[in-house]
Symmetry: none
DNA sequence: GATGAATGAGTTTTCATTCAT
DNA sequence: AATGAATGAAAACTCATTCAT
């Protein structure tokens, strides 16, 4: 009725543990993908398994919380770029930021790149990401800096593609993704005159 | 109970079972990814679980055998294209064939795209694939049909990237990969004059 | 944070919390049986889980406290009936009151009906219940209103039996127990001349 | 396609384990109720936990299999009694057999006596039990051996009631249920002239 | 005194792998 | 050689109880 904690602030040790947990889980998911066990996450955070479930109602919710944090960061970055002077550079900066997240995080790749995505909040965040991606793309498109039919959703999708291209190299060459990012960006900005052989994805078919 | 099969020796039965098993496993892995259980594969093949382990020492070996089969098919296709009249069309045909394998096969995506690939034979097959990809690429490169620094390994890697880009769309739009294949191909063939910001992967760093 | 409650000392707060807790627990146990979690009880009472354990040393003690409360109420009702004009009606009134408690309270059924009952205070209360039941029964027996060998303990035990008979019906027919109460009462009061094939329970063998 | 085992017969060791498992589970459920863990059952049977799930798809299925076995036995007993010479003795024999099952088996009491019963096969078996109980009851009723309104469902329900009445005594006096069985039977057969204050349950409202 | 965060043993269930038949 | 039964080590999740704040 009156909320969990009188003044709306959680206990300091709980806050600290939640932080520990999120960090440990983020690291574990990043390294091991969605398959890492709650047991390992708890161990990394230095807490008991029960504590994980006190803070997050299920493994899926924990995963979603972390994915949402990363998506929101990326959305913020993108928002900041919508008013940049050079729309082309802004779009490339956005793409770069996005690919870096994918490159660092195995779970992110697995969650975002799968055909059927369950979690409603994550889907909503992806929608928001596509929206702001479209803003950035539209500005560049209007000035002829990208090919006519390219959409924000295209750009968002290509982030995962660039990561996947470089994936087998990343252990030995952590920056190899930069090569494919540029190559794909050249594909986006190429003025071939030809139309692409398949229409752009409708916004909502993403998730 | 211990009776012989009328139309074959014990050995020919084993050969037939191996074939049954490979086909069933290929289908199962393609649809469900590497997580499909040995039980489901055995059931699809119409054999007992024990038979799976008689033919393949572990699940990983079975998976590797399937992956090798697909890689060999792709290598054959590529070999056939090395003498085609139009090197540009040949390269694109190769890329198309490769992406189609990825699109059809969840396990293939999961196995090939991982940073550290254990299985020696699969690594060797990927090396062979990169070799033949390099032959195709070199022919196109020599005629100025692709950018200067692009290698066969780049091309092989990009197959996975194109699939991953389209992955979230494929359930609703099974042909969406064609959009990104063209876009990436335009990136490969773009004559920007600029060099890519990161050197091509050395052949052996792949896995 | 550490503030006093305006209208009471710390002790009166504790008294109030104990009351809140007993009421909430009674309701929860009645609805959900002994399996309801301490968490749910605390939530219903609007207190923290720690408070439950400050007032009751374990879940079993809390449960016992509730059971004791109900047993004492029933004992009081029975005591009031020992001086009623019609000993037969008094006995039936007692039986009715008892069955109603069982019908309303899942935990009561589960606790009382188990072969080995641990809690000493609850056992003592059941003894007291049997005593007063015996008083009521004796009065009726003396006037020939019940069969010769029937004891107070028999009557007390039959309460649970009537409830259990009707249990599968109660969701659809909340008053169905009345059918079996009358049937059993007719069994108690039947003048068959025959003796029952097994002696009445000795008072102390109850738990 | 051709069934699990060629000739329709399971392997002898599997049959043996299934028997071991059913016996161990029956014993464990009888003693400890539905809450006994699969781990304990496996241990009692001398098999691994996995073996339990090989034979029964879930704990609920195992429990249902055992309950069904007991219900079917009781139904058979009842069927055999439908042609007995003395319908009154037959009805009492049926009641006795049923109460004995309840008395021996904690899980049976818990499963059958609960308001909402999930398992479809168990519900069907209970329906069958009520049917045959009605046959037995009708014969006795037609000869004026039981009160007019008493139905087979009443009789089936009363089995649980008799058990519950005696439950607290059974540890010390394992045969105490015989006392209450006779008392209840006298209630069923009493010719009071009075009607019971609540109508008999409709057949289907049982489960 | 009150709180609710942390704990960890315990539950059901899955599945690759081994082995008796 | 083939089978499928048995195994047991995980995994996600629950909850009574303890304890720092």
């Amino acid at each position: 009725m009156a909320g969990k904690t009188p003044a709306g602030s959680a206990r300091s040790d709980a806050v600290r543990n939640r932080r520990l947990l999120l960090d440990a889980a983020a690291e574990a998911f990043a390294e091991g993908g969605v398959e890492v066990s709650i047991g390992e996450i708890a161990q990394r955070a230095g807490v008991g398994k029960g504590t994980v479930f006190r803070h997050f109602v299920s493994k899926d919710e924990l995963l979603a919380a972390i994915m949402l944090g990363m998506l929101d960061e990326l959305i913020d970055t993108a928002s900041g770029l919508t008013t940049a002077d050079d729309p082309g550079a802004a779009l490339k900066g956005f793409l770069t930021a996005g690919v870096q997240i994918f490159v660092r995080d195995r779970a992110f790749c697995e969650v975002i790149g799968r055909p059927s995505l369950q979690h409603a909040e994550v889907r909503a965040a992806i929608d928001r990401l596509c929206d702001v991606a479209e803003q950035l793309t539209a500005r560049a498109r209007d000035r002829g800096l990208v090919r006519p039919g390219i959409t924000g959703t295209d750009v968002a999708l290509l982030m995962a593609g660039v990561q996947q291209t470089a994936a087998p190299l990343l252990a030995a060459e952590p920056q190899a993704w930069r090569r494919y990012l540029d190559l794909v960006f050249d594909g986006i900005t190429a003025s071939t005159g030809r139309e692409l052989p398949y229409p752009p994805p409708s916004h909502l078919s993403l998730a």
